[in-house]
Symmetry: C2
Subunit: 351 residues, 2 copies
């Protein structure tokens, strides 16, 4: 068993084969596989193929529909309500964003709010679909409750990410993809496994009090929103998290996270997408040249003492992707074991 | 001299009279005065009539045009580019948001990106203009550079606020209005005057190193983005700040903050507005009822030990407004002195 490196293409083929065996049509399996493998390529393992076993369970148990049945429930020139039909979240997100891009093509900009979907992987994937059309893309989703509101002790909010992708010229696109919680739950789990404390201001225990002990967080505690406790403006991260819940769950009617269950945000997951057609307001080349200048000005600005580098959003992920395309994707022992179990279950061999 | 309480209506009339003497037409003076007094009513003194002297200087020195000359430079069904003509920011913002609401009325949702404007006061004012039409309103602006990028030592970003206003039913509207910096500069100045330290993780000194000493921050230091240093995810606040700069300055062509000058974001200030017509996707009454439930679920959720109250975005500001409408707006001695000087300069008496 143990760790293993697998090429992105081999991993993609494996995930596609698994999903196909479970009744997912080829083109839909390719989208789901691409979303998962993209996360691993970009170094976001928490949203990569390590999640495949959840998807497999959902398909086997009939909680998720293998053949996507999505439909547009209402449509205005620049705003649509999209029903994901309880299909695989990645397929729903992909279709909804394509629809959004087509609407923006005609109207200048557009938004699509989506209900009845499921976990859609990394939010940034859908935002980045706008790039090849020289548009700006936005992607939001609500998610399972792991985050307390400021002064709360019960998780009422998801990690509710915000992703924005913006084309540049000579520079790589600027891609922000961030949870509105201070940290992801995965980092707490890693700290627990390694037996190291968390930084202050990231999480609370079961009483809602700040703690740096990952055990206490996992034993009935929760994450703090971006900004940490109230004294360091954590109410802003709390506000951003609710903002995401409003544009996804409340606007679409799918329901906000805290309404689902006191602790756990069940399906339906809701998303929100937007796209802006840059050439509706200025020539794309001029826009991209200004993005390049902004990125370089930020990167080249004076560094804090002891620091040698200022990065821009998306840069660490591009570097991970470059390296992993060359050297393969490193999979931990636990993920390898899970993937082999899945393979054995459906009759597909992990390369 | 000294502190004074003045009713909102008296303060509004005073500001209007001052602006009229400086050549601002009555209806435009009313908008600017309403934006400033609204900030004071809502407890956001940093953006209230304490700023009037800046506006007066700008008008006297001819840096700002007293009679607004705005125009739509390009328009698609749901996206427009708006030129503020170097007019007073509040008048530009008001006109651009009205235009945005009209576009959203027809298309379902719409955005307007604005260049050649000036300081427009509280971002939330324009977002809240959507409420009376049962729409969701978004308002963003770039601003003078006070914030470092993660690992930087030079202020490259404004406090670049994000404001979203969302109608509710029996509950008051949900209104988020937050700077993407960890704290506003005003809080550093207050700490300096009182001789008290800042909390950790909010600001840096001239070397870009974390400091709690307000003197060090004001002596060539800068604010940290929301989230604080990198270890507590300050790169997310940095990303959000750049997001605002992209949708305002880069999309409109007005220029991003750091491009203006190494330290100081000069005019043109750029804004971005968006509006979403709720009934394009679901009945407004249903949407509002769900907002009410979400607000109550958050408010009534279990409190952290030692805490008695969980608030939602906009709640502290509504409480300040209720109190100040009843008791008058408290003005500090410095602001009273400034207002009296302004009054003497243009021949208007402060009540």
């Amino acid at each position: 068993m143990g760790e293993r490196r697998i090429s992105a293409e081999e991993l993609l083929q494996f995930v596609m084969a698994v999903l196909s065996r479970l009744g997912v049509p080829g083109d839909e399996a390719r989208i789901v596989a691409d979303v998962l493998v993209s996360a691993d390529l970009r170094g976001v393992e928490s949203h990569g193929v390590g999640r495949l076993h959840f998807y497999v369970d959902d398909l086997v148990l009939g909680r998720v529909r293998p053949v996507a049945e999505t439909r547009v429930l209402s449509e205005w020139p620049s705003l649509a309500l999209f029903d994901g039909g309880k299909s695989l979240g990645a397929v729903v997100g992909h279709r909804a964003m394509l629809h959004c891009l087509d609407m923006a093509e005609r109207a200048g900009m557009a938004s699509v709010t989506v209900t009845n979907s499921n976990h859609y992987g990394i939010a940034g994937y859908y935002a980045m679909m706008a790039l090849e059309r020289d548009m700006i893309g936005l992607s939001l989703t609500n998610s399972r409750a792991h985050t307390v509101p400021t002064f709360g002790r019960q998780a009422m909010l998801g990690t509710n990410p915000i992703a924005l992708a913006v084309p540049a010229g000579e520079e790589r696109p600027w891609v922000l993809d961030m949870a509105t919680s201070a940290i992801p739950l995965g980092k707490v789990e890693v700290a627990q496994r390694k037996g190291i404390p968390l930084r202050e201001g990231l999480a609370v225990d079961a009483k809602g009090l700040p703690t740096t002990d990952p055990e206490m967080v996992l034993a009935g505690g929760a994450l703090l929103p971006l900004g940490g406790p109230a004294e360091t403006a954590g109410y802003k991260g709390y506000g951003l998290s609710v903002l995401v819940d409003i544009l996804t769950g409340v606007l679409s009617g799918g329901g906000y996270c805290a309404a689902m269950s006191p602790v756990w945000c069940e399906s339906p997951t809701s998303h929100f997408f937007a796209a802006i057609r840059i050439d509706a307001v200025r020539p794309v080349a001029e826009f991209k040249a200004m993005m390049d200048r902004m990125i370089r000005d930020l990167r080249n600005s004076p560094k804090a003492e002891g620091q040698s580098r200022i990065m821009v959003a998306g840069e660490p992920e591009y570097e991970a992707e470059t390296q992993r395309r060359r050297e393969g994707i490193p999979l931990g022992a636990k993920v390898v074991e899970e993937l082999e179990q899945i393979g054995a279950r459906v009759g597909v061999t992990l390369p």
